[in-house]
Symmetry: C2
Subunit: 143 residues, 2 copies
DNA sequence: TCCAAATCCGTGCGACTGACTAGGGAATGC
DNA sequence: GCATTCCCTAGTCAGTCGCACGGATTTGGA
């Protein structure tokens, strides 16, 4: 299951993405109220997203957040990986956080690993293949 | 990512499954030493598995644990669901723990939900489609 | 009969994480 | 210079993870 953080992150990103491109940045307070996310908690999440170069911020009056790339170039997988961590169920099949399992005799023939690998690939294929743009087309608030 | 618990659970089940069918039950101490799982922690995990009717135990001397069903009738999904919880990433696509997301306008057209649903189905298909028997055929210790 | 081998059962515990709060700083625009 | 915004550092509070301790209970065998 995804953590609350991740769901908040998805909601926040969807909301920013749903704002017309030419508009001024979306202030945090509006994200908090419209997506129903605790204000201060949202700060932390947006900081992570900013740190990962998924959003850019402008300070001062009329400041706020905008997507760092167009909405069709940011995937659900990008967001989840930033907030939640690796998509893989076990370290030995993770691309971003590979770690050998210590008592595995042979990674090549391990059936557990093979199943986990397929799960990971399928998951990544779906989540990386769904962009914010695709998601906002039909629904505005979810997760 | 799966928790350590779940990985221990998988290892324990694999070890029990790898024991010849006619043999006496496998004592916890042997599982602990061979699968490298802390003895007392293993107690809790085996209790969960027993409670979920995946293993049966016999007490007293020469007691231990055996699979409750033949190894080809227990899937990795069965085990993970018991110890880790639902396979779905969000509650609104879970079969075993469905819960509506409060501010979702329309579940039918929600693209997030649709992506998550596909991920869940793929995950379940693989994990429920891989039995302990299939896993033990090629590798004995993993995860 | 009594011991040893085994599962069962409750309790505790330190570390971490998840979710959230508090309070002030620093930049920017009017 | 003042309001509006983001930025930063802590700290709380509850829960879970991973694990350990000390038994009680059941069973088989010497």
């Amino acid at each position: 299951m995804l953590t609350q953080r991740s769901r908040y992150g998805l909601r926040a990103m969807l909301l920013i993405a749903s704002d017309p491109v030419g508009n001024p940045p979306v202030p945090m307070s509006r994200i908090a109220s419209e997506a129903q996310i605790p204000r201060k908690f949202l700060e932390i999440i947006l900081a992570e997203l900013k740190n990962a170069n998924l959003v850019v911020s402008t300070r001062g009056k009329h400041g706020g957040f905008k997507l760092a790339r167009p909405a069709h170039m940011i995937s659900l997988g990008d967001i989840i990986r930033v907030i939640e961590g690796p998509l893989a169920l076990v370290p030995c099949v993770s691309r971003t956080a590979y770690k050998r399992c210590k008592d595995c005799r042979d990674e090549e023939t391990c059936a557990i690993r093979r199943a986990m690998m397929i799960v990971r690939d399928d998951t990544a294929r779906i989540l990386d293949g769904t962009s914010l743009a695709a998601a906002t087309e039909e629904s505005l608030a979810a997760a």
